[in-house]
């Protein structure tokens, strides 16, 4: 393949690619995202290839493995084009039927269709499924359509058009102006205006500048950056190149977690292919603009997602943050002006260039424009990745898209912003989801993890969990964070073990304030948030632990006990076989009993019992 020399050559190639494709050809797409692979999606794909070959249909039907479609809960997902027939939870065993009926004869297989739990109705097409219908997909739009390892697929959906436009028709200042006008804010947590960051770096003195994609994605519960890179790697790369041109950088990087091997592989392949086509490297599209690209794998340290720590880490050093007074846009990687943006931020840029700042501006709220991808996880029915306009309410997200709380339980709180964020109680579920509103209720946007907590969740335990996380991730450079977080953790440990004392709450609040004010980087400054928000909204739960030595949610082991409900127990013996302490006894078909002396309150018996016969109090 000769390198493309101009925007016109790119368009000619696009026409050629499209000319070889028949939009009405049957195409089976199988989700190849990590979630669906964990549910044996690869076997489903293999079965389709084999099944089509066996029935002599291989040449008439395309089979494609795509990135994450979002509805991971129901994987492995299969969507059949052009109609978009939607089969969730497909197993390799069901494939021969799909081939001989749906593919060969156009018959819909009722029993494989998605059943809307709310109405009990079967739904045939993907776009009618409530989980998708209520979304506004921009970043995730092409994930279900393209093979992430194929540059032709990306070009077929309009890929690299924005890059070509920028290089052939716009000056760097015009690009920055457009991004500023779009009011795009960073999707990595703090929501800093992207255009302004680019402008600062452009104006900074010096010829050597860098651009970096932050794909460290350390927030537990978030996986949208991974899914974007695994599903549409070229879109991230295209955004980065546009930014490089705007700020005058000639070297770009991605900092990506080593725990994401498939994402590393796909972005590496995307860069190689882009280079082969003259879309990356020397003299891109004959414009005279050059930019290289390298992949840096992170090695597991949450703090390395922070700007200055990330850059130290890329230099081959331990990733310790440095003072925020030094801006990366002036002195970042190797002390050169550097723009670091989140994966989603970069991937939004081509959309803004193609459709215009006004279009972007028309979505969202006054202060938060555009869409945001959330990972809706925890105790909600439909877990997965959802893309919605900024400003949607928490309740709509959970009920209309998430299908409500699992097992008919009640919503208790929503945790956003990861270990730096907070827990928003059910009473505030009508709050909007945007940068300002989340901050106002004491939490933050973070990278878009939204963990739904139900009535069985103990809020003191949740706070303890996050402080454990933060204390193990603190780099230890400054005392306020190193000591403050550990002391808060220790107090919470005591409380959850039933050894809470009068005055603990006041002590937590005081430590929270000191840590917040004395820490060097945002990890320490925000670390007390999970405690402070739970204290604000769930103070009575703390008091129940401290004063009454009770865990109302039935979670904290030292404050609860397990017993068998004799009227519900069938004597199946499953709990007895699984109890790690051999604390359960009973004859077959007789009600079992738990020996409280031996029981360590691990909760395994309750999880395995199929008859709801284990009570916790």
């Amino acid at each position: 393949m000769a390198k493309l020399q101009s925007a016109t050559e790119l368009e000619t190639w696009r026409k050629d690619v499209l000319a070889t494709r028949d939009p009405n050809k049957q195409t089976i797409t199988i989700c190849g995202g990590t979630g669906c692979r964990a549910l044996e999606g690869q076997a489903v794909s293999d079965a389709f290839h084999a099944g089509l070959a066996a029935q002599g249909l291989a040449s008439q039907v395309d089979v494609k493995m795509t990135g994450c479609h979002g509805f991971c809960e129901r994987g492995p997902l299969v969507v059949i084009f052009p109609q978009r027939i939607f089969y969730p939870g497909v197993t390799a065993k069901a494939v021969p039927d799909i081939v001989s009926k749906t593919i060969a004869k156009g018959e819909i297989i009722e029993k494989l269709l998605y059943e809307d739990p709310a109405t009990g109705k079967k739904i045939t097409y993907e776009y009618d499924v409530p989980f998708y219908r209520e979304q506004r997909r921009v970043l995730m739009e092409d994930n279900g359509l393209i093979d992430p390892t194929s540059i032709e697929d990306y070009v077929a959906v309009g890929g690299y058009k924005a890059l070509a436009k920028v290089l052939s028709e716009m000056t760097p200042d015009q690009v920055i102006e457009e991004v500023k006008r779009s009011k795009l804010r960073g999707r990595g947590g703090a929501g800093f205006p992207t255009g302004r960051k680019w402008e600062d770096a452009r104006k900074a003195p010096g010829d050597t500048k860098y651009v970096i994609i932050n794909a460290d994605e350390g927030d537990p519960g978030a996986y949208q950056d991974r899914s974007l890179i695994e599903g549409n790697p070229h879109s991230v790369l295209e955004g980065l190149l546009i930014g490089a041109y705007a700020v005058g950088a000639h070297r770009g990087f991605i900092y990506i977690r080593n725990e994401y091997p498939m994402a590393v592989q796909y972005i590496t392949k995307a860069a190689k292919d882009a280079e082969a086509y003259g879309l990356l490297g020397e003299n891109i599209l004959g414009s005279g603009f050059s930019c290289t690209f390298d992949v840096h794998r992170g090695a597991g340290a949450f703090v390395c997602g922070e700007s200055s720590a990330l850059m130290r880490s890329m230099e081959g050093k331990p990733g310790e943050p440095r003072s925020k007074r030094i801006h990366a846009t002036e002195s970042g990687l190797w002390d050169k002006p550097t723009v670091l943006n989140n994966t989603k931020t970069w991937a939004l840029v081509p959309h803004i260039i193609n459709r215009g700042a006004d279009w972007f501006n028309s979505i969202g709220t006054e202060g938060s424009k555009g869409t945001m991808v959330f990972s809706l996880v925890g105790k909600v029915n439909n877990t997965g990745l959802v893309e919605v306009p900024m400003g949607i309410t928490i309740r709509r997200l959970i009920n209309d898209i998430g299908g409500g709380i699992r097992d008919g339980k009640k919503l208790k709180a929503v945790q956003t912003g990861g270990p730096s964020g907070g827990c928003i109680p059910e009473s505030l579920a009508d709050s909007q989801v945007d940068y300002e509103s989340l901050t106002k209720v004491g939490s933050m946007m973070g990278s878009g993890a939204m963990i739904v907590l139900d009535e069985d969740t103990c809020m003191v335990d949740t706070a303890r969990y996050f402080m454990g996380f933060n204390s193990s991730e603190s780099c230890g450079k400054c005392t306020a964070c190193r000591e403050g977080v550990v002391r808060m953790y220790n107090i919470l440990e005591r409380i959850t073990h039933g050894k809470g004392e009068e005055g603990d709450i006041a002590q937590l609040e005081l430590l929270g304030e000191t840590t917040r004010n004395g820490a060097l980087c945002a990890l320490g400054r925000t670390a007390p948030n999970p405690v402070l928000t739970t204290l604000r909204y769930f103070r009575d739960e703390y008091e129940a632990h401290i004063k009454d030595k009770k865990c109302p949610a039935g979670v904290c082991k030292d404050l609860i006990s397990f017993s068998v409900l004799a009227d519900k127990c069938t004597g199946c013996g499953l709990c007895k076989r699984n109890c790690p302490q051999e604390a359960i006894s009973g004859e077959k078909k007789q009600a079992h009993v738990i020996d409280q002396q031996k029981c360590i309150r691990c909760g395994i018996c309750r999880e395995v019992c199929r008859f709801d016969a284990i009570k916790v109090e």
Partner: protein
């Protein structure tokens, strides 16, 4: 035994630049399941870095293990989404079946149990990963069956 030629090859792969230190260490770790001291010394020598810097980097990042690990690495996710859906009970169950606590290796050097703060597959929590193969919606009752696959020495391909 550490093959120093292979270590040299890892360093050469990245042109010996300082910024490649973590990449080199990750490759060594992938090859040996941990970072043998001889290998770290060789890296320092060949990349012209102080052994202290190599050691600091190796101990700063969670991906690196300074002690030998088992043939199979069992990783249980304790990220928030998995935590609220029973991750800690999986740790207990694996621990009970293998008689190890997180960070430990079985005496026969077959299994190491580790925990991690999110594996990026949160919708299907709780997640157990064995040697790069993801098991979604894992249950306490299902752990034994998974372990047996590896006890029998079957080769299982990574899927994530």
């Amino acid at each position: 035994m550490v093959d120093l030629n292979q270590v040299d090859a890892f360093v050469d792969r990245y042109g010996g630049e300082e910024r490649a230190l973590t990449a080199v260490l990750l490759d060594i770790q992938n090859a040996y399941n941990y970072l043998p001291p001889e290998a770290m010394h060789r890296v320092a020598e060949k990349m012209k870095l102080s052994p202290l810097q190599v050691y600091q980097v190796a101990s700063f990042y969670k991906a690196f293990s300074l002690k030998p690990r088992g043939k199979h690495i069992l990783t249980v996710c304790l990220g928030t989404a998995c935590h609220v859906r029973g991750g800690p009970r999986l740790v207990d169950q694996v621990g009970r079946l293998l008689k190890v606590t997180p960070g430990q290796t079985t005496p026969d050097k077959q299994f190491t149990l580790e925990t991690v703060n999110c594996l990026g597959c949160c919708a299907l929590g709780p997640i157990l990963v064995v040697d790069g193969k993801y098991y979604g919606k894992m249950t306490v009752g299902g752990v034994e069956k998974v372990l047996n696959e590896y006890r029998e020495g079957k080769e299982v391909a990574a899927n994530g």
